[in-house]
Amino acid sequence: MTMSAVEDKMHVEENAMNPNWAVIKKIETETVDTSTLWLEFEDEEVRKDYKYSAGQFNMLYLPIYGESAISISSDPDQEGLIGHTIRFVGNVTRAVSRLNVGDRISVRGPFGTNWPVEESKGKDVIIFAGGIGLAPLRPAIYQIINNRKDYGKVTIVYGARCPSDLLYTGEYEEWRSHDIELMVTVDHADDTWDGLVGVVPMYFYRLRPNPENTVLWSCGPEIMMHFVLYEGLARKIPDNQIYLSYERNMKCGVGVCGHCQHGAYYICKDGPIFTYEQLEPYFNVEDL
């Protein structure tokens, strides 16, 4: 190898956009269009150094198809495989859906802000999740369970379009067993469904939060989070105790390609999780 080739190689390695290979170790089918991919970095060093917080995301890159921002859905306190729950709706994710155990995929990350899991100790936690929005909240749920006694009342309201769209249905009993109140609701019920019907924000009326001592975390379709927010604000939960996870067209993950700007924020770097206090100036600005 010539000198210049070595330099070029170094250039490749330094670049923040470069691939970082991981192997798919396990695939769990969650719904008809959603699966959880469990990944392990090929490089031992990377594996060892890789730490993430609840609510952060990775950029998954599949050569030929491109890159997509996918939130991490596994337990940050657990060593080992990293879980990504992916809904197959776009160009990249549909290609990901065709992958098998043993295939490689590149992972850049972790990127972005996290749920205030530590800061919320001693407080009541209310979580509103919709659809795939439960995925980035699951790491936080695990961490709460890991330290359940540090938190007050914990409530999760989770909704999806129909029963077959619900994620992680096998874990609900486990969560409930840790003194978590879990309400599960669907927009469209079938005959077998004996649970709640209706969108999640509607169920805020069942909660009696003590606003000063409550944090509200929400992730789901933006419109859903807005209604959750309105309900939270109506119940006097302070602006800086309401956390919403936003999503935009994220490309670089490091706030430099410009795509995911929302007002002065780069969603990928300053978000995806914001307090309402942060978002308030841009709230209800159409097409921002």
């Binding site: 030929i64 198809y65 160009n91 290609a95 065709r98």
Partner: protein, 264 residues
């Protein structure tokens, strides 16, 4: 799909054959391409008997006769994916210039015996007759866009085709804006990128052969076009060169014509 190779057909409607030639002009990739797919019908290159059905069908040309109307419906039935290539197929093409004239008058000009001429009133894009899965614009189509479309289909991904205005491509290539620097009328701001900004590259204005760009703004553009052209006729004719029959360019031409009437 035999041997896993998609069966590809190329059909010609009213056109100059240039888009088919664009495929043959993929000199560096042609052998690779015919290795990756099975070309079962491509009259300009080969004809195989009994070639139906097709996985991927490319259609060049516009629809100008009743026979073509019937043929495209049949081809659609025989095709998995139908891709229209070139601005005849996507916009009606240059022969759509007849759409603004009385077709019988045109026949009289060109032919001694008009009774033998079978033609429709208008030259129309393929999508006016059947569902089209992908449209590749240009007069001629850019050969690399054809390759990109085939690659994307083979790889089961979305083809990477620009939808933005030519201005972005032109500037990225370092070309000098002919409107700003030389006062030349240019359809670049309302035309889809993809050609390599070849007209501004030689110092002339774009004549819109890649068709309208997405989200362009006619209200903002018409005043500029009028200012850079010497007459409404020139402005209208620029719009009505290759892609004049697209709703966007046609609307632009109408806006200019109406403005002219209002001014009189």
């Amino acid at each position: 799909m035999e041997n896993g190779k998609p069966r590809v057909a190329v059909f010609k409607f009213s056109s100059c054959s240039g888009c088919q030639l664009a495929i043959l002009n993929l000199e560096d990739e042609l052998l690779d391409l015919v290795g990756a797919v099975e070309i079962v019908y491509f009259l300009e290159a080969r004809r195989l008997p009994e070639s139906r059905p097709y996985d991927i069908t490319f259609v060049e040309g516009s629809v100008t006769t009743q026979e073509e109307v019937e043929r495209i419906i049949k081809i659609r039935e025989d095709s998995g994916l139908l891709i229209s290539i070139g601005s005849c197929a996507t916009a009606g093409g240059v022969q759509a210039l007849k759409n603004y004239k009385d077709v019988n008058h045109l026949i009289d000009i060109v032919y001694e015996h008009p009774e033998f001429i079978e033609t429709l009133e208008k030259s129309t894009p393929i999508s006016e007759h059947v569902k089209v899965d992908v449209e590749l614009w240009g007069c001629p189509v850019d050969k690399y866009q054809i390759l990109e479309a085939v690659s994307a289909l083979l790889q089961n991904r979305r083809p990477n085709l620009p939808e933005h205005s030519l201005c972005l491509e032109c500037k990225a290539l370092g070309r000098v804006c002919v409107t700003v620097a030389s006062g030349i009328p240019c359809l670049g701001p309302i035309t889809k990128a993809g050609c390599g900004a070849i007209c501004p590259s030689v110092g002339r204005g774009c004549y819109g052969c890649f068709g309208p760009s997405k989200d362009m703004d006619l209200d903002a553009f018409i005043p500029i076009l009028r200012e850079t052209t010497s007459s409404p006729k020139e402005a209208v004719e620029l719009l009505r060169t290759i892609c004049g029959y697209t709703p966007e360019f046609e609307k632009a031409a109408q806006m200019i014509l109406e403005e002219e009437v209002a001014n009189e």
